[in-house]
């Protein structure tokens, strides 16, 4: 029962009045920014990084935990009231929740999303509490060659296996890898791709890349194709609340969604989209009210929203135990750790237990706070959706500027931000996914150093990657993840041709 013991120590850290205050500020800011249309959880965390710049590490991460969960809660509110998913994992919530809201059941949709998120988040955090130390103990023994293979797996699954177009996903990944290479090579001290700019010797900060590709790119893209009609926000009367019947129909989907979401978050399988889709399909199959699906069935909000949040908790397992992010948001959290000079991984449980366990304990606390914030205050969050678009996007750009400028207090970074904004515009216009680029920027340097360490240990023998059983096994999965979807696609295309369907 070491985990319980450590967790109590974590609560001692997290329950100090000051840290409670940081957690509260974190969940409030996370919800606030997450509610804003067009800002998903990944961008929420990136934009709020400067807010934590002057805090001690433990407080900063307690605040991050709040921002992370808060951004998810805020996103579901937007999906339900505005039918605009902030990220792909909220598509289902937008689909079914917005239909519910249009039928005048906005309060129930918001309530089942919030309570479902709470249930899933709490169960997910419990699973994290017990799984993480056990995995960390095993993970200490993973050799560098297998760690390199794991990163390859994350690269392939995030960019090629689960995306719409593997080619475009891989190009996006390679763009990120190229950006990650810029700067001084730490091992040899050689400058790479710096084009003679001394500002580039330290490399390009990931915050500049994330905010440029996401926020500035989005602003430029939306400005180029403005919607002339007003987005219709659904009016919310009173608090988010549910009837007894809603409860009866929600609790099972919550639990099933949690069971689907957590494992998917914990493996590198391209984030939370798949479990939310699976949960939706499952609830539709099991429901006695399957005719309501597509018209606003409460199970279709409860299940996927729980899956989404359980997945967010699951993501923290590989992040904390292996230092392996399995989503864009997790990659940004990883980079935030690195900014504090901390390398998430099995050793973190040994070197900074107060930080890790304080973070885990604050996830429980943040979840309770979010429930308290979201149910009664739902109408206030809903008001945020009424901010006129010109003022909203203008504000996002100003905050982006603060975030990037305050990194080094240099205008050079702002010029970089504009360049990445243009690239982000191009990626939206030409259908390149942004997430693989982010993963490439953050994990690229990590993969290079693991590769070098492995080669150093093997005395320059490349075959170490196939002689070490675990890395061979993972590399085989990588190969399968690249090849199998293509084979299936070709077969599906042949079958479709056989049925003389036009492509």
């Amino acid at each position: 029962m070491d985990a319980v013991h450590s967790l109590f120590a974590g609560f001692e850290t997290a329950l100090t009045p000051l840290n409670l205050l940081w957690a509260l500020i974190g969940v409030t800011l996370g919800t606030l920014v997450g509610v804003l249309p067009g800002i998903g959880p990944a961008l929420t965390v990136a934009l709020l990084l400067p807010v934590t710049a002057k805090l001690p590490p433990v407080s900063a991460f307690i605040m991050f935990a709040g921002i992370y969960y808060g951004g998810m809660f805020g996103g579901s509110t937007t999906s339900i009231l505005l039918n605009t998913p902030g990220e792909s994992s909220s598509i289902i919530t937008a689909l079914e929740g917005n239909k519910m809201a249009r039928r005048g059941r906005a309060a129930a949709a918001l309530a089942t999303a919030a309570i479902g998120s709470f249930v899933a988040g709490t169960i997910g955090t419990m699973l994290l509490t017990f799984a993480a130390p056990a995995i960390a103990e095993v993970a200490v023994q993973i050799p560098p060659s297998a760690k390199f293979a794991l990163i390859m797996l994350a690269f392939v699954t995030i960019s090629a296996t689960f995306g719409g177009s593997p080619l475009r996903g891989l190009i996006s990944l390679f763009l990120g890898l190229a950006i990650g290479l810029i700067g001084t090579d730490l091992q040899s001290g050689q400058a790479r791709f710096t084009l003679g700019y001394p500002e580039l010797l330290d490399g390009i900060d990931f915050v500049t890349v994330v905010i440029g590709l996401f926020a500035v790119g989005e602003t430029l893209f939306v400005a180029s194709r403005l919607r002339k009609d007003k987005a219709s926000v659904i009016k919310l009367e009173g608090n988010a609340s549910m009837t007894r019947d809603d409860w009866r129909r929600s609790w099972k989907p919550w639990l099933r969604g949690t069971a689907l979401g957590f494992p998917f978050g914990a493996i590198p399988a391209g984030g939370a989209e798949i479990p939310t889709f699976l949960s939706y399909t499952l609830e539709k199959k099991l429901s006695k009210h399957s005719e309501e699906f597509g018209k606003g069935a409460i199970e279709g909000v409860a299940g996927p929203e729980a899956a989404n949040n359980a997945s967010a908790a699951g993501v923290l397992v590989p992040l904390l135990t292996l230092g392996l992010p399995t989503s864009a948001t997790a990659a940004i959290l990883l980079a935030a750790f690195q900014q504090y000079g901390l390398q998430p991984g099995p050793l973190l449980f040994v070197t900074s237990p107060d930080l890790v366990w304080g973070l885990i304990a604050s996830l429980y606390i943040g979840n309770v706070m979010l429930l308290a914030l979201n149910l009664p205050l739902a109408p206030i969050w809903a008001k945020l959706l009424l901010i006129p678009r010109p003022f909203l996007y203008a504000g996002i750009l100003v905050f982006s500027t603060v975030g990037v400028y305050s990194l080094n207090n240099s205008v050079f970074d702002l010029i970089l931000l504009a360049i990445f904004g243009l690239i982000g515009y191009g990626m939206r216009r030409f259908d390149f996914p942004v997430t693989p680029a982010i993963i490439g920027v953050i994990l690229g340097p990590v993969s290079e150093s693991q590769f070098r360490t492995a080669m150093q240990q093997s005395g320059g023998d490349v075959s170490v990657f196939v002689r070490q059983p675990l890395s061979l096994f993972i590399l085989l999965i990588v190969l399968a993840a690249l090849v199998v979807p293509q084979v299936l696609k070709v077969r599906a295309a042949r079958a479709a041709k056989g049925d003389s369907l036009s492509a």
């Binding site: 190229a178 602003t219 010109p390």
Partner: protein
């Protein structure tokens, strides 16, 4: 790749999309530039994996992927623009608006240090609001200055960041 299967019963090949072609060529050019840059990196010493190895992998990989994209484009593949939350998928793209935003952003960035954070970000705010079709100039100017000022005070006083005061030096 979701390009239509070329079969005799289908209508003739879709027309080649010039913007998509430029993107594919752009990826190839980036790959080539990376390769040139890679060859300029000096060899490290005493390491099994020098500083050139990964750049080489990335540049060759980019060239390869660019070639695949070029082939797909020549076969008639074209990218569908993303459907963002506030964008109109059927709207005719208007490049003047992003131009206004970029111009305002760069102007704001240039005056950030000499004239100060508040004026610089106010210019940015104003240009975005203008590009998004807001035309109540007085209101916009007021909101721009207030947002910039509140942001400045919150981040410098509240969070201890140092942002350039510029002409407001000593006033705030």
């Amino acid at each position: 790749m979701s390009d239509p299967a070329p079969s005799s019963t289908l209508p003739a090949r879709p027309a080649l999309s010039v913007p998509d072609l430029l993107v594919a060529l752009g990826v190839l050019i980036v790959g080539a530039l990376l390769l040139i840059g890679t060859l300029k990196i000096p060899f490290g010493i005493n390491a099994y994996v020098g500083p050139r190895v990964f750049p080489m992998i990335v540049s060759v990989g980019t060239l390869l992927l660019g070639t695949l994209l070029l082939v797909a484009t020549l076969r008639g593949y074209r990218a569908e623009p993303a459907a963002e939350e506030d964008s109109d998928p059927d709207a005719q793209p208007d490049l003047r608006q992003p131009g206004i935003i970029l111009g305002g952003f760069l102007l704001g960035a240039l005056i950030l240090t000499p004239l100060g954070f508040v004026l610089g970000t106010a210019v940015m705010y104003f240009s975005v609001a203008f590009a998004f079709g807001e035309r109540r100039l007085g209101l916009m100017a007021g909101v721009s200055l207030i947002v910039a000022l509140v942001t400045y005070v919150a981040f410098t006083r509240g969070l201890g960041l140092s942002l350039p005061a510029g002409i407001l030096n000593g006033v705030l």
